[in-house]
């Protein structure tokens, strides 16, 4: 992070005696004023609730009973950490992350390279790939729920035509996550595509021309110039994708009717928290699950920070 030079404390030239800039402490006071609105909201709606959640994770708080409830100590944590459904939800979330992050990075990169190369009608590709990204998750989920419907959906009809249907892909524990992952790839690919396209356009052209003169084939140019120079974009895309996938809820909630089924085969961590708190009324236990999940995300973010630090170090060298 760059350090800012302080504007307000520069010595004032003696010639402007009639008007002088306010001294240092006024800059300090003004700064708190500027920070106040954001700071107030930040404390009220982020830090405060987080602290409350931490506290209530040690209590048997109930949604339908007043007060924070009887003390449980570590009981909620023991319950969460020994709950098979919680670990299934962690597993589902991680599987979903892999199923979406890997194809999204690869497809985003490949399509961006292709579009950059074709260079014509870019608006068409942007429209086709990026438009799904602005759809609300609910719209996306309803469309794909319809496509997957056994006996009447388009995809199911195609599967039937291929001789593998009717297949209740959303009703089969083996296919439900891949099916929802596929719909998510369709939905968010445009975002990665755009990031990669922006990254591609920053690569100096003479690099390719020089390589071409040296006799490098198209494939070699991609392999030794494009991909390495896009490493920073790839890190960014990957981390954003992982963090988003860890927070998956909407499309699974809608496409499985809120059940995360069949047999919990698609329940993500956030749905476990949601169900525990708002369906089962068990706020304390949900708080503990939420805290555990928070630590999980914190871990991922920490890995990202280390990675980007290292990358930046390399670039600077």
């Amino acid at each position: 992070m760059t350090t800012t030079t302080n504007v307000g404390t520069r010595p004032v030239p003696a010639t402007t005696t009639t008007r002088t800039a306010p001294p240092l402490d006024s800059s300090g006071r003004a700064a708190w004023g500027f920070l106040a609105p954001f700071g107030l909201f930040y404390v009220l709606f982020i830090l405060g609730p987080l602290a409350y959640q931490f506290v209530s994770s040690f209590f048997a708080t109930s949604l339908v009973r007043p007060g924070i409830g009887p003390v449980l100590g570590l009981g909620n944590y023991v319950e969460v950490l020994t709950s098979s459904v919680f670990w299934i939800s962690v597993r589902n979330t991680l599987v979903f992350t892999v199923l979406t992050a890997v194809p999204l990075v690869l497809l985003g990169l490949i399509l961006a390279i292709l579009v950059n190369r074709v260079s014509r009608a870019q608006w068409l590709f942007r429209l086709a790939f990026f438009a799904p990204y602005v759809l609300p998750s609910a719209t996306m989920a309803l469309i794909w729920y319809f496509l997957y419907s056994p006996e009447l959906g388009l995809i199911d009809s195609l599967l039937s035509a291929l001789g593998v249907g009717p297949a209740a892909v959303l009703g089969n524990p083996l296919t439900v996550l891949p099916a929802i992952a596929l719909s998510t790839i369709w939905w968010t690919l445009g975002f990665n595509f755009v990031l990669y396209l922006a990254g591609l356009q920053e690569i100096p052209r003479d690099l390719y021309e020089a390589a071409s003169l040296d006799g490098a084939s198209t494939w070699e140019q991609i392999r030794y110039i494009t991909v390495p120079l896009l490493a920073r974009t790839t890190t960014l895309v990957l981390v954003l994708q992982i963090i988003n996938s860890l927070k998956v809820f909407d499309q699974i909630f809608i496409m499985t009717g809120g059940a995360g089924g069949p047999d919990n085969a698609s329940i993500p961590v956030l749905m476990y928290v949601y169900n525990t708190s708002f369906t089962d009324y068990r706020v304390g236990a949900a708080s503990a699950a939420s805290m555990v999940f928070f630590l999980l995300i914190l871990g991922v973010s920490a890995v990202w920070l280390t990675l980007t630090r290292r990358n930046q170090g390399q670039v600077n060298r």
Partner: protein, 449 residues
């Protein structure tokens, strides 16, 4: 909920907020009034409107729509009733709970009898007092004993029984006719015992249907549970849960045997498809591709609209005793602090109106809970309703527990396993083991109520 502050401070706070801001809202608020106002200051809905929440989708929803229209016509126009349909199952009950805890419940809401004990213990529902019953001109004798029992929790009445919805057997009259399964009266000849049922399905298939029978398998644990429970309740075996859900008492061997049988039908014997979901099963039967359909009574309208020739009958007794899965819709009053006497009277009037419309509702398949409707000439002449009306007497309701009831964790945990077995993805033994461990976990979890 930690604090429920008085309305005064809340209103003040809201007004302050409303005055201070409205940045993006200004332009829009000018044009559109009430709903934005409700969003900004949490204003109550217009007085004189009864808000009614339900989970009636599909053809149930359309039938209910005609009843609302009748109510509106009789009670002062379109604004007299606001009826809202939510997604079925846990999401509906979550919504109802959150709305009640959040201080903005509807005036009256539909619930399943199987969910009633949990909702009552969570403080979500008001009591129906003797005065309320009197105001609606109802007594205990107005209802069938089963229905009355279903709405009585801890000796207090908590809702108006509305209907009884059992699982039944739909049959395609053309296919069954060709297969020689119909009696001289054109109705399905009685079937008794597993073997007879299998023979009937086989005969249907031989008569040219793609499948002998169809029932929902994928994507809908509740349907799986209903089907399983219908078969299982006919056996003399232990209940799944006892002691209000604090102990798990299912008979592993018997459950496994029932599952084994079901998986045989969707698997090796191929009587029924093992990969259809709810809508898919209706579509298969509706397009004449199956001789039998096993779902609840409420799909009668769907089949009538599709135009498939069909009849309905009480699900046959295949085991030791008669029995079918059933649940009831009830009309309940969510806890609403400061409900005015006028609003209460209007709400009770709506409940009474809906009960009196029982014959219209019965057209959608369910059996009316009100005796006067049950015994009416109109209902007795309703076909094929009269053919399965005896189902009501052998109805078996879901076990009682904080995690049980329609669309609950119990149905999801057990129903998912039933689906897996039918899809050939789990063995009956593994499924029973998984049911037991999941249910044990819930049974041992501290009761949040």
């Amino acid at each position: 909920m930690a604090v429920r502050p008085g309305t005064m401070s809340r209103r003040r706070l809201l007004e302050l907020g409303g005055a201070a801001l409205g940045v993006g809202a200004v332009g829009l608020t000018a044009g559109c009034g009430s709903s934005v106002a409700a969003g900004v200051v949490g204003a109550p809905p217009s007085p004189g409107t009864t808000t009614f929440w339900n989970l009636w989708g599909g053809s149930d929803g359309r039938r209910a729509e005609s009843m609302y229209d009748a109510y509106r016509a009789a009670n002062g126009g379109p604004a007299s009733l606001e009826a809202i349909t939510f997604a079925w199952g846990n999401p509906y009950y979550t919504k109802l709970s959150l709305a009640t805890i959040g201080g903005r419940p509807p005036d009256i809401a539909v619930a399943h009898a199987s969910r009633l004990p949990t909702l009552v213990r969570a403080g979500i529902l008001e009591e129906i007092t003797p005065a309320d019953l009197a105001a609606a001109n109802l007594t205990q004798d107005s209802f069938s004993p089963t229905a009355w029992k279903a709405v009585t929790v801890d000796d207090t009445v908590r809702a108006f029984p509305f209907d009884v919805g059992p699982l039944v057997l739909y049959y395609n009259t053309d296919i069954c006719g060709k297969a020689g399964l119909l009696g001289p009266d054109g109705k399905l000849a009685p079937i008794q015992g597993v073997e007879a049922f299998e023979k009937a399905m086989a005969a249907g298939k031989q008569a040219g249907a793609k499948y002998g029978a169809v029932w929902p398998v994928g994507g809908d644990p509740a349907s799986n549970w209903r089907w399983f429970q219908t078969l299982h309740a006919q056996k003399n075996s232990a209940p799944f849960l006892s002691d209000n859900g604090h102990s798990v008492t299912l008979d592993d061997d018997e459950v496994a045997k029932t599952l084994e049988l079901m998986s045989k039908w969707t698997g090796p014997q191929g009587y029924a498809p093992g990969s259809v979901d709810y809508a898919g099963s209706l579509s298969v039967f509706g397009s004449g591709d199956a001789a039998f359909l096993v779902v609840g009574v409420w799909e009668i309208t769907t089949m009538q609209e599709v135009g498939v020739p069909f009849g309905m009958t009480t699900f046959p007794q295949l085991f030791d005793k008669p029995g079918v899965w059933a649940d009831s819709h009830v009309l309940a009053l969510p806890a609403q602090p400061g409900r005015s006497a006028e609003s209460r009277a209007r709400t009770l009037g709506f409940a009474r109106f809906m009960l009196d419309e029982g014959l219209t509702w019965a057209g959608g398949g369910s059996l009316p809970a009100l005796r006067s409707v049950q015994e009416s000439e109109g209902f007795r002449n309703l076909k094929p309703q009269a053919d399965y009306a005896p189902s009501g007497d052998i109805a078996v309701y879901d076990p009682t527990a904080w995690f049980a009831g329609a669309g609950s964790n119990f149905q999801i945990a057990v129903g998912s396993q039933i689906a897996l077995v039918q899809q050939g993805l789990a063995t009956p033994r593994d499924a029973v083991a998984s049911m037991r461990s999941q249910l044990t976990r819930y049974a041992e979890t501290p009761d949040p109520l």
